[in-house]
């Protein structure tokens, strides 16, 4: 290549496999949009219909993608901050003059075209975060840097929350994906997931069962760390012994007796004293930490119970129970998920066939062209269709991670990880929702859900990554 340092180059270095996967997903997505929105029986291609609009947006997106591949890669680094500020201003503008759809004020109209500014913000935030974290001197160990980074993310989150678009705000969690790669301690993630997990489990399991599980889990963890399995066994046996004494003793002495759960709490806390003495003697710091975590877990469990029963309103309680699948309101939220599962589940192995889905054709799944588009895949194309789509998304995300890993520039790597994280997050939340595994959070399935802003932003986001990767590889020749 003659002008390999100018950044303006030809096709060389482009990861065509990824581009192919991307376009394949986009095409499959459109097929499903068509199946969901066309009027049956299909007679002629109608201009002005949703599938036609989506086709126009696809054309525009791919055209912009081509421009990105043909243009210089320098702009993204240079214009990342201005893009961030611009997107933020649009976001604020939307807050005041935006159009309200489905309760959230997130649409900005430009003549006949309306865009969701929160979608643009995702891209701008990726660029800005990548730029800031690739600055010389940046370190996650420096509190000032971490605070600025948090600011960069919290600013759009707050405005989006003010727009009442919870789904788009939650998307910013996806930066945690990139941050793990960039060195945030894994324990934070474990702690985070533990807190969420304990929250969910405290509703799903009986308190006594949960407490025993925790007890066993922590003991095994300590066993793994110190390898003192005999002591672990002695500890468990002792705890059970004390619990038994409390349970039956109180029964004998007071007649009424303690409940099994309270005896268990008493037993485990009493036995902790012994453990404390043991840890102090043997100078085992980790054991102290484990003890603190255990006690913390118990307190946390009771805190949840207290807050749920005494502070939350009835409708908030219902919402939580609904989210956890403990109470299903088939007329409200539950209806969508129920119909979505019917659509997907009735597809079988081969599906009902293109344009043959009864749930799809006769409108049983609400919001099917946007949030619940995956139902169409499941119903009309069956298991092979859904596995293909899930597989292609997985492949694309892994390739984006690989793409990030082979970058020499920190900016490029962080950007690729951001893009991978955002796409992964959307895919997981959206498909998880349609499968009834995760709560209903209204965020689109990339390249599938109907909507121009989302399609354009994901395309641009992806092609920037490809472009950055291509130039990086050319430079390394």
């Amino acid at each position: 290549m003659t002008d390999k340092y100018s950044g303006i180059n030809s096709k060389a270095g482009i990861d065509w496999t990824s581009v192919f996967i991307f376009i394949a997903l986009m095409f499959i997505g459109w097929i499903n949009i068509f199946a969901t929105t066309c009027d049956l029986p299909f007679t002629s291609f109608e201009f002005g219909s949703k599938y036609c609009m989506q086709l126009l947006w696809m054309g525009l997106s791919l055209f912009v993608g081509m421009l990105i591949l043909l243009s210089s890669d320098k702009y993204y680094y240079i214009y990342s901050y201005p893009a961030y500020v611009g997107a933020l201003l649009l976001l604020i503008l939307t807050l005041f003059v935006g159009r309200t759809v489905n309760g959230s004020r997130s649409w900005l109209s430009f003549g006949p075209v309306a865009i969701q500014t929160a979608e643009l913000m995702k891209l701008a935030a990726c660029l800005a975060v990548a730029r800031y974290m690739s600055e010389y001197n940046f370190s996650l160990k420096r509190p000032r840097n971490v605070m600025v980074l948090c600011g960069l993310l919290l600013l759009p989150i707050m405005i989006i929350l003010l727009q009442n678009d919870t789904g788009s705000a939650i998307v910013y969690c996806s930066f945690m994906f990139m941050l793990y790669r960039e060195g945030v301690n894994g324990w934070i993630y474990i702690l985070g997931f533990s807190i969420i997990g304990l929250f969910v489990l405290s509703f799903l399991l009986q308190p006594a069962v949960l407490l025993i599980s925790l007890l066993v889990l922590y003991t095994i963890a300590c066993g793994l760390i110190y390898g003192r399995w005999r002591q672990c066994a002695i500890y468990l046996a002792g705890t059970m012994f004390v619990t038994g004494i409390l349970f039956f003793g109180s029964l004998l002495i007071f007649g009424t007796g303690l409940s099994f759960y309270h005896s268990l709490i008493g037993g485990s806390l009493l036995s902790l004293i012994v453990v404390g003495i043991y840890a102090y003697r043997e100078k085992l710091q980790g054991l102290f930490l484990a003890m603190i975590a255990f006690v913390g877990s118990i307190i946390y469990m009771h805190l949840i119970e207290y807050v749920f029963n005494n502070i939350l309103q009835t409708h908030q309680q219902k919402r939580i129970l609904d989210l956890l699948g403990l109470e299903s309101d088939l007329k409200g939220w539950g209806y969508n998920v129920h119909q979505s599962k019917i659509a997907i589940g009735s597809g079988g192995f081969t599906g009902k066939g293109f344009l043959q889905g009864t749930q799809t054709n006769y409108g049983f799944v609400p919001e099917q062209s946007t949030d619940f588009i995956f139902c169409t895949v499941g119903e009309e194309f069956g298991l092979w269709g859904t596995w293909l789509v899930v597989g292609l998304f997985g492949w694309l995300i892994i390739r984006l991670i690989n793409m990030g890993e082979r970058q020499q520039e920190t900016f490029n790597r962080i950007y690729c990880y951001c893009a991978a994280g955002i796409i992964l997050f959307h895919v997981v939340i959206n498909i998880g929702m349609t499968l009834g595994l995760l709560p209903v959070i209204g965020i689109p399935l990339p390249l599938f859900s109907y909507g121009g802003s989302s399609l354009l932003v994901f395309t641009v986001m992806f092609f920037i990554a490809v472009k950055l990767d291509a130039s990086g590889r050319i430079k390394s020749f």
């Binding site: 793990y180 894994g186 997907i344 054709n361 006769y362 298991l383 597989g391 995300i397 991670i401 998880g432």
Partner: protein, 602 residues
């Protein structure tokens, strides 16, 4: 493990969980296919039109006309409500009624169809189709229409199936109709046809979007089969006219086939009253009517046969060899042995012919005692049992097996019955059986069948009301089988002569039944009964040779058989044999005869 591997593993694990979840939803769990079908498929029952009923000459007795039931699947109703006033107007019911029925449908099931308004006329259906009422649709079904308004109990009534019928018979579902009595009940399986199903697809609002898989799952309904009955409409109409305001019944049979030519049970009702929306009220009104118009007296009631039964005893006597046609017995205004049996005054002694013609009581007391006290039998029990067997062979004391399932068994006492009742007994104890009184119970159908048996000189075909079922070559084989009595054919000629003299002979009790230029054979009866005045009854057939009609008339509490029953029988035979009634004065006389029924109307 380095961080990149961990991240990649996380991606793969999450997506693998999705893949497994998809496998479970789409392959392992079979419920969702059913749930999707429940959502989109609506099985519409296609009700076949009920088969028509014709008389023997092809005149309509019952037709079917189109009506539409308004159906509702509550789940598919518009969530924001709809204009109930408008729909009530369309369906021609009050708003309160409509709202009540909608609530009832909701209570029954949210996703199964209920009938909200029954039997709307076609105009309502057309209006309904113009509007848009999600969740509602119309269902075709036919309603009976009776062009001649005759034969209430004969044709029978059709009503909605009860919960018990639904549970016992899988064919029927809520809102279906079934024949409850008469021909409608007897030939329900033929008349109803076979329901079809149409599988439609509906969208989320319940609007029909078209047929499912081009209708390959549809099953067209098969219309009910038309039935040609053996009834002669003109005869039936005349019979009902003559019996108006009288209580009783008439049955006429064609002896050579066993075909029932007419069947009147009086009081009757207009079959139109038991269809449509007023059915319930009218039904209750009839149920409360003390004269009980819903009771088909022709096949269900038990009457003492009275003097008509003397013919049977004569036949048995002849067959047993204890009687000859020329045997004379004296009558001293009655039979004087034992408690005695009274008789009216007539010439004495009489031979068998004239004993029948004059209906002599004493004569048949002699005959009866000779039969059961016959020395060839070891005791009264054996003698009586022989008599009983003869009587049963005439079709008494059991169901004849006609197409009316509600047929009355009748009652013929056995020797054991008397032993249980009296302990010791002899022929004098049962002497009233000789003149058709006492414990005997016969239905008018059995009497008509007896008349037909005499007309045939010794055999009968099971009386039946259906001549032809469309598309079938023949009826049930039992209707083509001759049933012989235990009495030889030659003995019948003797009693036929007696019955001929009843009508044609001087002093015959049935002279009033005489039809000019016609050989009529008959026997009067005046049946004593515990309810008041005697029942007037007459049994006859005509012509004497190759008889075409045998008839039995019962008029409750009308006195002598010759006063009311005989003229009625005569007029009906005239109508059937000549196609017209010349003796209008007799018609007027019968119609103006007023009979009081104190025990019904109190």
């Amino acid at each position: 493990m380095n961080k990149v591997t961990i991240l990649k593993s996380v991606v793969i694990i999450i997506l693998a969980i999705f893949a497994i979840r998809l496998f479970v939803l789409q392959i392992v769990n079979k419920d969702y296919k059913r749930l999707a079908d429940n959502n989109v498929l609506r099985y519409e029952i296609q009700n076949p039109p009920r088969g028509e009923i014709y008389d023997r000459n092809g005149e309509y007795l019952a037709q079917s006309i189109a009506t539409y039931d308004l159906m509702l699947v509550p789940r598919n109703m518009a969530k924001e409500g709809f204009d109930t006033v408008m729909l009530a107007n369309v369906a021609n019911v009050t708003v309160e009624q409509l709202v009540k029925e909608i609530e009832r449908a909701k209570r029954y099931s949210r996703h199964r169809a209920s009938v909200v308004v029954k039997q709307m006329p076609k105009e309502s259906k057309l209006l309904f189709d113009e509007g848009h009422y999600p969740g509602f649709y119309t269902n075709f079904r036919t309603k009976r229409y009776y062009p001649r308004n005759v034969g209430g109990n004969l044709l029978g009534d059709i009503g909605e199936v009860t919960e018990r019928i639904i549970n016992n018979n899988s064919y029927y579902t809520r809102g279906d109709y079934i024949g409850y009595s008469g021909i409608e009940n007897a030939y329900e399986d033929v008349l109803r046809g076979v329901k079809g199903t149409k599988v439609n697809m509906v969208d989320v609002r319940g609007t029909v979007m078209g047929s499912y898989e081009n209708g390959i799952h549809d099953k067209p309904s098969i219309p009910g089969t038309a039935i040609t009955t053996t009834i002669d409409l003109a005869l039936q109409e005349l019979g009902e006219e003559l019996m108006k305001d009288k209580v009783g019944s008439i049955i006429a049979i064609e002896p050579s086939t066993g075909e029932i030519l007419m069947m009147v049970s009086s009081p009757t009702y207009d079959p139109d009253e038991l269809i449509g929306r007023d059915r319930g009220n009218n039904y209750m009104r009839m149920l409360n009517n003390k004269r009980n118009p819903l009771f088909n007296r022709a096949v269900m009631s038990a009457y003492p046969p009275g003097s008509t039964f003397k013919v049977a005893n004569g036949l048995i006597g002849l067959q047993e060899g204890v009687l000859t046609a020329d045997q004379r017995y004296p009558c001293y205004n009655g039979y004087t042995i034992g408690r005695g049996v009274k008789c009216h005054s007539h010439a004495s002694p009489l031979n068998l012919y004239d004993a029948i013609a004059n209906s002599c009581n004493a004569y048949f007391c002699f005959v009866m005692r000779n039969i059961i006290d016959n020395k060839k039998y070891k005791d009264i029990k054996e003698g009586f049992s022989v008599w009983e067997e003869y009587v049963r062979s005439f079709g008494f004391g059991r169901k004849l097996g006609s197409d009316f399932s509600s047929e009355y068994n009748g009652f013929v006492p056995s020797a054991d019955y008397y032993t249980r009742s009296y302990g010791r007994w002899n022929s004098l104890t049962v002497i009233s059986l000789s003149i058709g009184q006492g414990e005997l119970g016969c239905s008018p159908l059995q009497m008509a069948n007896f008349a037909a048996t005499i007309a045939n000189r010794g055999y009968y075909y099971i009386p039946h009301v259906v001549k032809k079922i469309d598309g079938r070559d023949s009826l049930d084989a039992k209707f083509y089988e001759k049933h012989y009595t235990k009495v030889d054919s030659k003995h019948f000629e003797t009693v036929v002569e007696g019955m001929y003299r009843t009508v044609h002979g001087a002093g015959g009790t049935g002279h009033v039944a005489y039809i000019p230029d016609m050989d009529v054979c008959g026997k009067t009866g005046t049946a004593q009964n515990p309810h008041g005045r005697d029942h007037s009854t007459f049994m006859a057939f005509a012509p004497r040779n190759n008889p075409r009609i045998a008839i039995s008339v019962y008029v409750e509490n009308a006195g002598f058989g010759s006063t009311v029953a005989a003229p009625i029988a005569s007029l009906l035979m005239e109508q059937y044999l000549t196609g017209k009634v010349e003796r209008q004065y007799l018609v007027d006389q019968i119609k103006s005869t007023h009979i009081a029924y104190p025990h019904y109307d109190r």
